[in-house]
Amino acid sequence: MELFVFVCAAIMVLVGALGVVLRSNPVHAALSMILTLFGVAVLFVAREANFLAAVQVIVYAGAIVVLFLFVIMLLGVDRAEDLRTEPLGNVQRPLALVLGIGMFALLTTAVVRSRDSLRFKGDGVKTATLEDADGNIRQIARSIFGDYVVAFELTSVLLIVAVVGTVVLARRRKSERTAS
């Protein structure tokens, strides 16, 4: 059963990722990305990170992809583009492919070779059971609001800066408004 879930989720992830890279229409690429994000959420559940799976669906699929789609529609770039434009001549694509496969080989080698060195053990990860349904959430909360509370406060500062910066960036300047 675990194997079945893993294989299905892996196929979702890889097909979605290939869709993002290969589809010429940006809307299709965004929808393919949703497939990938759901596959990753399923893998999170399989790894018993239930809270993160929910956050993954809500934040990524619910907010970030919708933001992408919103921008695509707003800018009106939802036409299929010509994928054959190759600004750097004909070497760019093979080079990128070689680099990508090389990266995959490198990472796989590192993962496989370092398999036996994974000996460090932490304090344990609580998983959801019938008696203790929110054990995972409580454990993460204790970690975020206990050990990492300073980092948590800094992320709130980061979010405020990002929102203010976006408002400044996307605002129409006065000269533009009078010109148009």
Partner: protein
């Protein structure tokens, strides 16, 4: 013939994450549409998140899942700023590709 004894180990998850990362990297290198390049960066962030969660379970350490939480927050902030920049560029020049954006001032 798949036997019931085969259970996906942490290595499988890590290899899958490596594949996702490589696909995202190829996408950033190949595509010229800034929006698609952004999506490929999100794919790479997801690969890293998957690695974090897989290792958090393997090493029984909740801090891996905490790290994923922070990556999510930073990714959201990054998308907001990046899309703001893309909107302000595209408003001036429709059909701008990443190669047209050599100058900071649009």
């Amino acid at each position: 013939m798949i036997t019931a004894a085969v259970v996906p180990t942490t290595t499988w998850y890590l290899v899958l994450a490596a594949g996702l990362f490589a696909i995202g990297m190829i996408g950033v290198l190949v595509r010229r549409n800034p929006l698609i390049m952004f999506m490929c960066i999100e794919l790479m962030l997801n690969a890293v998140n998957l690695t974090f969660v897989a290792l958090a379970t393997e090493l029984t350490d909740i801090n891996g899942q905490t790290a994923v939480f922070f990556v999510l927050v930073v990714a959201a902030a990054e998308v907001v700023v990046g899309l703001g920049i893309i909107v302000s560029i595209m408003r001036r020049r429709q059909q701008a590709t990443a190669d047209d954006l050599a100058a900071l001032k649009g």
